[in-house]
Symmetry: C2
Subunit: 302 residues, 2 copies
């Protein structure tokens, strides 16, 4: 049974194509990993890489990317709209196939240790890898950003998980951790009233009393003249896509508004779709591991 882990490192460079090419080359030239996506954002001056592969290959590639970013990106000269604290800002590991979140946590710690020992960049562990509850949320760790980090590291409660309480002069600090797969799921409504989308988002998101593992905001789609509830489904095992859909549908009803469509941005684990198919088809005792043909291919001999 081959194991698969996804890694989605964020780098503080969104403009210089030569730097992005150098980072891409590291992934494409490494055995056992596949580069799935490179998404630069010019105004954020930040790029999100997505790659997937076997655990050891993913760990090695993540380290090599961080090493290359340390060499090529100098945060002292970085300007961008997105908050950041490191040249390599964050490295999340996500279980995809035949891997537990615990194994991803273990892997994240190996990579974190190596980043400190070989690159002298202090590392914070976050999400499932966090060493305390106030380090689960990346935003809390990153607060103060690169410029405020030297002062922040002097505080007792913000000692790095690996390394000394002193930033790398040009590369800052890095957050490394394991988290459940995230699905970017947006639901479109037949109204152009952003207030309605925001009101619905507030009803369904965990931070204001809705579903624990749904993050949501209202967004205007100018070109289509409609609004959408834009969501990050941060744990589709706990809060599957169908819950978001049905909850948005019944919240919208009070405004006489309906769902006209939806979209998944980027990637989704197959499981998130099986879950919703099984719900709507009312499947009893359905086991995707056993019953989805493609999942049985692992049993193939050489």
């Amino acid at each position: 049974m081959n194991q698969l882990i996804e890694c989605i490192p964020n780098f503080s460079e969104g403009k210089d194509q030569s730097i992005l090419d150098a980072l891409s080359d590291i992934v494409t030239s490494h055995k056992g990993v596949a580069l799935l996506d490179v998404k630069p954002d010019v105004s954020h001056n930040r790029t999100v890489f997505t790659f997937v592969g076997e655990p050891q290959a993913v760990a090695d590639t993540a380290f090599l990317l961080c090493e290359k970013a340390t060499e090529l990106i100098d945060l002292r000269r970085h300007r961008g709209e997105h908050p950041r604290m490191g040249a390599t800002d964050v490295i999340p590991f996500v279980p995809v196939k035949n891997v537990s979140i615990e194994e991803c946590v273990a892997l994240s710690k190996v990579v974190a240790k190596r980043i400190w020992e070989e690159l002298a960049i202090p590392v914070f562990l976050y999400e499932a890898s966090a060493s305390s509850s106030n380090r689960v949320n990346l935003a809390a760790i990153r607060k103060g950003q690169f410029e405020g980090m030297p002062e922040k590291l002097k505080q007792e409660e913000w000692q790095p998980d690996f390394g000394k309480p002193q930033i790398h002069p040009s590369a800052g600090v890095v957050a490394v951790g394991a988290r459940a797969p995230l699905v970017a799921f947006n639901i479109n409504l037949n109204t152009d009233d952003l207030a309605i989308a925001n009101a619905i988002a507030k009803k369904i998101r965990g931070s204001s009393g809705g579903y624990t593992y749904i993050k949501a905001i209202g967004v205007k789609l100018e070109e289509r003249g409609i609004v959408q509830v834009s969501m990050n489904m941060v744990n589709t095992d706990k809060n599957p896509l169908y819950q978001a859909m049905e909850a948005v549908r019944f919240e919208a009803r009070r405004y006489g508004v309906s769902v006209v469509g939806s979209e998944i941005i980027g990637l989704t684990p197959a499981k998130a779709l099986y879950e919703s198919a099984a719900y709507y088809l009312q499947l009893e005792d359905f086991d995707p591991e056993l019953q989805v043909l493609e999942n049985r291919v692992g049993e193939l001999g050489e």
Copy 2:
């Protein structure tokens, strides 16, 4: 991109475990294929094997199974409730991944030719491999069964596609062909009235004017005191699972009856589930090939 074909050969033996073991051994000892299921039926005196693998390995394994069945099964002594015409009764090839139905048709002809040339069993091509429209349906080819086959083969229109018009003395004739994946999908109703399940089945199945690629009958679930519409979804690209579900739902409504659940028996291609998830979640422009993480694994280096 590795290619995957499923093969579901049916053998006219459902009782003698030593024979079933000998057939299983052929699959499990062959490289490049995985045995997914062996389902014997004692009253039918028939066993359905399911295996999957690379095209060449699947073709070779199918032939070797037919060879072994010819050696071990004598149809002259076979009694069972299920109609049959051969020791190996039927060998369907089903495209699973990165394979077209046309490639499966080509493969079926290679296997059919080999069965005639090396085992001297006449072969009929059926379903997508059929040489004429009256040979698409397996039941039409099999009509008359083993005992009536010598007479049937004398008719001009029932000349075998491969071989002379004379049955193999103990192994009869074989049907070989390619077909789309089939999903066994049953929908349970909150009534014990079999007449209602039958009436709904008639409304939705292709043979009586319903959906072309749905076969359906009513079935009583004695132990649960309910009935179900039992379906073979013979082409889930053309008639996805959600069509069956929604059609059964609205037909049931006229009897004041509701759907209480459903089941998928055995295997389903992932695609059949993506299709229904996308329908119910109202996904716009969703492309499972690009957006389902597991489907991107083929891009992995060695």
